[in-house]
């Protein structure tokens, strides 16, 4: 047994242990902390699986922003905890345990009898890379070969933000999402929020730019930019824009909008919906990615801020 395999077994065991902890621990807050640690270690598993693009996404969005979201909610709901008494009965527990064990066993069996050699689309993705002149095959799949998925996913982001906003009480509609944060102006949080965002902006734009040829892209870069924005908001140095702001709405639809325009142009002048002419593929994809990173950063940040709570001008 090699050292690598021992490391992998230990990693898998720790991840599973954290998974069990998040399910069985009594306090919801502890469960969320466990889930954040779980997400970061799962990112390590993705590194071991040689999927660096996914590892970056998982660490930034799954572990990082998702963790902030869950921790914030758990902190707000902390007081409601003792009121909950209607835990599942023993019969339900036993049935759920049997069902879950069966599901897990079936999946484990499926993993063990996967065909050898495994089917793969990697050669097809690599041999068609000339069509876009991007060297990162994952970006090629995201932006060209399965561009439809990526475009629809932007629409899902939009729908989610509309859903969150529509939960606002009538009196707050059109106002700023989330509470106005106020921190000690001489405190350390404000200090960090003054120092870090410029560095994060350089790193975020670099991650977007390098995504053409190396692991990275609009999702990972957008998550970094969103995190910097949120840091400034939490330190009280910036405020969320009111949801009635036209500029904000323009940014939110920029990504999917440009994607759609390019797609329809492909339908009219090219061979199919979302087909890029190979000569212009790279600049077109870059333009879409720039629009997308703005949309992604704004949407992720606003999803974390939550529903509008305050009227404009209050």
């Amino acid at each position: 047994m090699s050292i690598a395999t021992i490391f992998e077994i230990v990693l898998a065991a720790v991840v599973l242990g954290l998974g069990i902890w998040t399910i069985v621990v009594r306090e919801t807050y502890s469960a969320t902390v466990g889930f954040v640690a779980y997400g970061l270690l799962v990112a390590l598993i993705w590194v071991r699986l040689d999927a660096i693009d996914v590892a970056l996404t998982e660490a930034a969005i799954g572990g990082g922003l998702g963790g902030v979201l869950l921790l914030g909610a758990a902190a707000q709901l902390r007081d409601s905890e003792p009121a909950v008494t209607d835990a599942a009965g023993n019969a339900v527990r036993v049935c759920a345990a049997i069902l879950s064990a069966l599901t897990a066993a079936t999946l484990a069996g499926a993993v063990l009898v996967l065909p050898d050699p495994a089917p793969t689309l990697a050669p097809a993705a690599v041999s068609n890379a000339w069509a876009t002149s991007l060297a990162n095959p994952v970006t090629n799949v995201l932006m060209a070969f399965r561009a439809m998925d990526t475009m629809l996913e932007k629409v899902v982001l939009l729908l989610a933000i509309i859903g969150v906003w529509s939960l606002a009480p009538d009196s707050a509609w059109g106002g700023h999402p989330g509470p106005r944060h106020q921190a000690d102006p001489h405190g350390v949080l404000v200090f960090l929020a003054r120092l870090l965002p410029p560095i994060g902006i350089v790193v975020g734009i670099y991650v977007l730019w390098t995504g053409a040829n190396h692991p990275g892209g609009a999702f990972q870069g957008g998550a970094i930019l969103a995190a910097m924005w949120l840091l400034a908001i939490m330190a009280g140095l910036a405020d969320t824009p009111p949801v009635s702001s036209r500029r904000l709405r323009l940014i939110l639809v920029a990504g999917p909008g440009l994607f759609l325009v390019v797609g329809i142009a492909g339908l009219l002048f090219g061979s199919a919906f979302l087909s890029y002419p190979p000569a212009q593929a790279k600049p077109l994809i870059l333009a879409i990615e720039v629009a997308m990173i703005l949309t992604i950063a704004a949407t992720l940040g606003l999803l974390l801020a939550g529903a509008p709570e305050r009227r404009t001008g209050q």
Binding site: G187, V188, L189, F191, L192, L195, L196, I199
Partner: protein, 97 residues
Amino acid sequence: MSLLGDIITIVAVSAGAFFFLAGTVGLLRFPDTLTRLHALTKADNLGLGLVVLGLLPQAASLRDGFKLVSIWLLGLLAGATVSQLIARAARQGESAR
């Protein structure tokens, strides 16, 4: 040259791992939040610094070396500021009790 580099790597990374281990022992043994913070910030920053120092001889280029050093600097900044935030919350929690 490469032998010297490898020796530096082995010594420094082992020392870094030792400080991480000591920091974790402190995290488990120290009595309260504030003393545990000492264990984490001090020992882990030194541990990370030593690991970075140990990896420098293995860096393929000067740029990779700078990347490693900037990881250490960002880690320092994060550790030093977040530890102060936790410490303030812990002290206020203590005096409120």
